[in-house]
């Protein structure tokens, strides 16, 4: 029915089914907006592609930097860091990539994936059609949150995976040399890296839940993403104020580098357990806020 073409013959719809009952045939609330469908809706988005591209490129950027600047020689004798051992082996390079990106680089994709879940649908006006389909509101949130967390996890796994592969090709397979001295054999280093990645993901749950909640509050995706990143930064700033003393223990940012406890000769769990406790607790409450607000919200977008 483009302007140039002749009007198409109007199909005569078949007669309405008699006695259709309360719902359309085949409709079941539990089968609406399945995870696979939501993932397909989000996967081809430009932001997904860009994040994937950047996270894939980052290890190579670092690698180029090491190639140009030379292999780090452990100049920081007082405070050795993972950077000093970056080019020792593939596992070392993966750990280094995590070290440089855990603070901020990985916050952005998580905030992005979780922050524009609902807000972008509202911005596109497609939210009202999903809700009128009808996808039950709690299910809509649940599916969207699950997919957003899945994408976030994929982003957090992608970076070290690429770094491990690229690092192994460039620097060889070997032990994970620890900055504090000693080395972990590659066989036990890999499970440690898995723990690190898992903890980083858990640590990002606060940012994710915050972004998600903001996403249900505002119709502007950038507002939700920016708000979550901004509040995460505020948390970091507060954690830098040592005068706060033990108050800092309840700041999620206080525990963001606790995963380093896994990259030392003796695996140390307490920091990560406390960080997990704080992170999960905030996430649960923020998530509940999102569900509570959205279930009765008037959708006017």
């Amino acid at each position: 029915m483009t302007a140039s073409s002749a009007p198409a013959p109007v199909p005569a719809p078949p007669a309405a089914p008699a006695g259709a009952g309360g719902t359309a045939p085949g409709y079941r609330p539990g089968r609406t907006l399945r995870l696979r469908v939501e993932a397909r809706r989000q996967l081809r988005r430009r932001r997904t592609m860009i994040v994937a591209g950047l996270l894939t490129a980052l290890p190579f950027v670092l690698m180029a930097a090491f190639a140009i600047g030379g292999t780090p020689d452990g100049g920081g004798r007082n405070g050795p860091t993972l950077i000093d051992t970056a080019t020792a082996s593939g596992p070392n390079f993966a750990a280094t990539c995590l070290f440089v990106s855990a603070g901020f680089v990985l916050v952005v994709p998580v905030a992005l994936f979780c922050g524009d879940t609902v807000a972008s649908e509202a911005g596109w006006a497609s939210l009202r059609y999903l809700l009128a389909a009808p996808v039950p509101r709690a299910r809509l949130l649940g599916v969207k949150l699950t997919v957003a967390l899945g994408f976030s996890a994929a982003a957090i796994v992608l970076l070290p995976a690429v770094a491990l592969a690229a690092g192994t090709v460039a620097y060889g397979w070997g032990d994970l040399e620890l900055p504090t001295g000693g080395a972990l054999p590659a066989a036990s280093a890999l499970p440690r890296l898995v723990v690190v990645v898992a903890y980083i993901f858990v640590g990002q749950l606060v940012t994710a839940a915050l972004a998600f909640w903001l996403s249900t509050v505002t119709d502007a995706p950038l507002g939700a993403v920016g708000g979550a990143v901004g509040l995460t930064i505020v948390g970091n700033v507060l954690d830098a104020v040592t005068a706060l003393g033990s108050w800092r223990d309840v700041l999620p940012a206080h525990w963001q580098f606790s995963w380093a406890d896994a990259v030392q000769p003796t695996m140390e769990w307490t920091g990560m357990l406390q960080g997990t406790s704080v992170s999960v607790s905030y996430a649960v409450v923020l998530g509940a806020l999102a569900f509570r607000g959205f279930r009765t919200k008037d959708i006017v977008s």
Binding site: V10, A12, R41, R128, S281
Partner: protein
């Protein structure tokens, strides 16, 4: 000198009290505030550890021999009788050092007496190194004093229920007091000596560095002491080992003493001073010195100490080693007293002395043995603090405990032999004993806590040390106790002094010395060689798999006096290897997680559940109304007021009903509430009052009956990055309904997008989006189709076609609701109308009824129509009114038919050009809503 090292600052100090303020708005802030405040309030409560003001009274009491003792007496709570605790301080300190622990014990229900030992603080007298007639007798006088207090519980007249505890110097006096005074009921010596001679002259080698620090603290020249402000007390601080912390002068202070050599002895008793100077000068202890120091030590009364003892000793302690506490524990246990041994991480060398934990443990120890709380657990019989990794959050070393049911002693519960290899080695003792090898350095010992992490200060000089190594370990070995090894030493010198160390060598060659400890060995000279059993320092250390052990025997050590004459020793292994004591009974304690780490997630879950279970009123699903099952839509009493407007209604008391097969026009000017009504119909907005029933089912957010409704409201909503086809596909998949029910082909035909269907929606024009959205609304051929301004952005042929679509759609028994402000549109499409204005229903009914009937006739007239003629027409019977219009005449008939009117007009010579019914909706509409809004 304070023989306690500065407390390690721990993270997680007590939070200041804070009253949680719950904010009511917004709920979010409130919820998070609850989360945080819950942690803080509970933290403050646990930090306070029960309340109660502590009453303190200071007094100068009289000790043995009339010496004035500066004391503080702490009580709290009521006046009932309670056990007493005597709290001693470390060497170089004063009663002020233990004030915190004293207050804590007082709050816990003890009468606590602290005192500055003679020679320290403001107390008078001279330092006698815990002499029987000096410091120990002082304690008995203090016990006498306690026995006279009305609030102190008595075992017998003059015999109070009393425990003694203290660190280092104060710990030793607790042992001695228990040995000399039967009235002492329990003790908790911490980081102290059993035999001072063994501690300062281990294996007859003079521990010169520590001894020097020890004695110089008490022998500060009086000139500098006098220069200090009278009445103040120098605080023993971190710099204490340098000897700058001088006891301040008071009026009660005696004159300093002078040793035989004329050297100023400060506040030391002359005999002790002379002993020190003699040994320090010769670099070798003599028998008299040994006898004298042993007599001053708890070991002298070993058989008489029979009270329950909690023995705390430091692993990083080259002054009072674990061997001292081992002898202590063995002797006391032999006497039948309950004994518990606790190896803390730090010690005199530095490191974390775990004061908070030990203070708590001492309190429970006294609870059990002074208060007689048989139900009180006193903790494990043997506990070792092990260093975990670094806490990356604050850089501190993480400590965790391992506990066992029994203290096995330094030989371990089991022993494991590990072969060492190494040929006979000839090593040199350098003249003057310099340069010395380094094991531990007092004050730098904090680093020894890092030895497990690879940081090590140890230095050995080649040619001055022999080295024997093991093969790489197949599995990890945790050594708990003192390893021992047999070596043969040959020398032509009168005797040889060696310092034995057991290194942990990583595969990369880096080596660490556990706890930075070395054990001195003196071997009598024998040119043909002499086999000696070397007892290495007691440690608790895990040698990881793949690591090797290296036994090093050095001829010098910074901390000790070694022979100054140059000599050569030949050292070789005499046995198979080194015996490693282990204690398999030790079990790692649960990770010391703060309580809130466990409490927070359940608390958060409770908050979350509270958030989800409260809040705005719950939607109670209304039961379906079977009588309305065939009625596509019935709205009754619907009202909606948007937030922040108290009286401005978007929709007010709206009621109407739509029957199957109707094409209903929802008509009204902008702001009439049409879209709000449709949004409520879709469950997007919650009505304030009234209800909407679709096929008898009440509509609420996500009501399943909405699956029978297709809607296009307020413009298209698509994912811009996907193609039109993908959008429709995914939308249908999102409904979860079977693919064949979609009737996608029909919908696509209506959209008529052709090839554009495969382009991303973001490239579409407004009209294309509009058509795609209408197609989406028709997916699945819903029983009720709602179209909001469907013809916006369409061109005339498309508008005409859309009309057709709607009419045919309703023709199949389905129902269509079209909202519009285009009157002609509605007039041409709809069978029924609902007219709204300012949120209210104006009228509802069939179009013809609302628009009017054929009763009004518009007559087109050729040429001029005079007013007289118009009046004549109006006067005709059966004509209600007749008015002149721009190009003709408008007549409202009242009984006359249109053909009759035409005949009459012709009769009146009116040049009738055309006649038609007047059905202008606009007029009707404007009339209904009272003029343009």
């Amino acid at each position: 000198m304070d023989l306690r090292w500065p407390r390690v600052r721990r993270p997680g100090g007590r939070p200041r009290s804070g009253r949680a303020r719950l904010m009511r708005w917004p709920a979010a802030v409130g919820a998070l505030a609850v989360l945080v405040a819950g942690v803080v309030v509970a933290g403050a409560a646990s930090a306070a550890g029960g309340g109660g003001a502590v009453h303190r009274s200071d007094a100068m009491l009289t000790g043995a021999g009339g010496v004035r003792l500066d004391t503080s007496y702490f009580t709290a709570g009521g006046s009932g009788r309670r056990p007493a605790v005597l709290l001693g301080h470390g060497f170089g300190g004063s009663k002020d050092d233990v004030r915190g622990q004293a207050e804590s014990l007082a709050r816990h229900g003890y009468a606590v007496l602290t005192w500055s030992a003679r020679g320290f603080g403001r107390s008078g007298g001279l330092i006698g190194l815990n002499a029987r007639d000096g410091e120990v007798a002082d304690v008995s006088r203090l016990v006498d004093w306690l026995a006279a207090r009305p609030e102190v519980r008595l075992d017998a007249p003059g015999d109070p229920r009393v425990g003694v505890t203290g660190v280092s110097y104060g710990g030793a006096v607790s042992l001695l007091a228990a040995g000399y005074d039967r009235r002492i009921d329990a003790i908790a010596p911490r980081e102290t000596y059993w035999n001072l001679a063994d501690a300062l002259f281990p294996d007859d080698v003079y521990k010169k560095l520590w001894s020097g620090i020890f004695f110089s603290t008490g022998s500060v020249p009086l000139e500098s002491a006098a220069a200090a402000q009278p009445g103040t007390t120098a605080r023993p601080g971190a710099t204490a080992p340098s000897g700058t912390a001088a006891p301040s002068g008071t009026a009660a202070r005696p004159e300093g003493t002078v040793a035989a050599g004329g050297q100023d002895c400060g506040r030391f008793a002359p005999g002790v001073c002379a002993l020190y100077q003699r040994v320090a000068q010769s670099g070798r202890p003599d028998a008299a010195a040994r006898v004298r120091l042993t007599a001053l030590s708890p070991a002298a009364v070993a058989s008489r100490i029979k009270v329950p003892a909690l023995i705390v000793q430091g692993q990083s302690d080259s002054l009072f080693t674990l061997a001292q506490s081992d002898a202590m524990a063995k002797a006391l246990r032999a006497n039948g007293a309950p004994v518990a041994v606790d190896w803390i991480a730090g010690g005199h060398d530095g490191g974390d002395t775990e004061d908070a934990r030990i203070d708590r443990r001492v309190t429970t120890w006294f609870d059990r043995y002074l208060k007689g709380g048989t139900g009180v657990g006193t903790g494990p019989a043997f506990r070792v603090t092990r260093t975990g990794g670094l806490n990356s959050t604050d850089g501190s070393v993480v400590l965790r405990g391992a506990s066992g049911d029994g203290y096995p002693g330094l030989a371990g519960a089991r022993s494991r032999d590990l072969a060492l290899t190494g040929s006979r080695q000839r090593i040199a003792n350098p003249a003057g004993g310099a340069p010395p090898a380094i094991s531990s350095v007092p004050g730098l010992g904090a680093l020894s806590g890092l030895s497990s992490l690879g940081a090590s200060l140890s230095v050995d000089f080649p040619g001055q040390s022999a080295r024997f190594e093991s093969a790489a370990l197949r599995g990890a070995v945790t050594v708990t106790g003192a390893p021992s090894v047999d070596v043969r030493v040959a020398t032509a010198a009168p005797d040889a002094v060696l310092f034995a160390k057991l290194y942990d060598v990583a595969p990369d060659g880096r080596q660490t010395l556990p706890a930075s400890l070395a054990a001195p060995v003196r071997v009598a000279g024998a040119p043909q060689g002499r086999v000696v059993r070397v007892r290495l320092p007691a440690i608790d250390h895990q040698f990881a798999a793949g690591h090797r052990l290296a036994l090093v025997l050095a001829t010098t050590d910074l901390g000790y006096a070694s022979p100054t004459a140059p000599a050569a020793y030949t050292v070789s292994l005499a046995g198979a290897g080194v015996a490693l004591p282990t204690d398999p009974g030790l079990r790692a304690d649960a990770a010391p997680l703060p309580w809130w780490a466990w409490a927070l997630p359940p608390f958060a879950l409770a908050v979350a559940a509270g958030l989800l279970l409260t809040g705005r009123r719950r939607v109670r699903p209304l039961p379906a109304d079977p009588a309305l099952a065939a009625v596509p839509l019935q709205i009754s009493g619907l009202s909606k007021r948007y937030a922040k407007s108290a009286d401005r209604y978007a929709v007010r008391e709206l009621s109407f009903r739509v029957e199957p097969g109707q094409v209903l026009g929802l008509l009204g000017p902008n702001g009439a509430g049409k879209t709000t009504t449709l949004r409520m119909l879709m469950g997007l907005i919650r009505p304030d009052e009234g209800e909407i029933r679709v096929f008898g089912e009440a509509v609420r957010p996500g009501a399943p009956v909405l699956s029978r409704v297709g809607a296009f409201v307020e413009g298209a909503g698509f994912l811009p990055h996907l193609t039109g086809r993908a959008n429709l596909d995914l939308y249908w998949q999102a409904t979860g309904r079977p693919e064949q029910d979609a009737h996608l082909a029909e919908a696509l035909e209506i959209a008529g997008l052709g090839d554009a269907l495969e382009r991303a929606v973001r490239t579409y024009s407004q009209g294309m989006r509009q058509r795609l959205a209408i197609a989406q609304a028709m997916l699945g051929l819903p029983d009720l189709l709602i179209l909001d301004e469907p013809t916006n952005g369409l061109d005339p042929p498309q508008i005409r076609e859309m009309r057709e679509v709607m009419i045919r759609y309703a023709g199949s028994g389905r129902t269509v609701i079209v909202s519009s402000h285009l009157l002609s549109e509605v007039e041409q499409t709809c069978s029924h109308l609902v007219v709204m204005d300012r949120g209210r229903l104006v009228t509802a009914g069939p179009v013809a009824e609302i628009v009017g009937s054929a009763d009004t006739v518009l007559v087109g007239v050729a040429g001029e129509l005079p007013q007289t003629l118009v009046d004549k027409v109006a006067a005709l019977p059966g004509v209600a009114t007749a008015v002149r219009e721009e190009d003709g005449l408008l007549a409202v008939l009242d009984g006359m038919t249109a053909p009759q009117l035409v005949a009459e007009l012709v009769r009146l010579d009116v040049a009738v050009a055309q006649v038609g019914p007047h059905r202008r909706l606009e007029d009707a509409f404007l009339t209904l809503i009272g003029g343009p809004a």
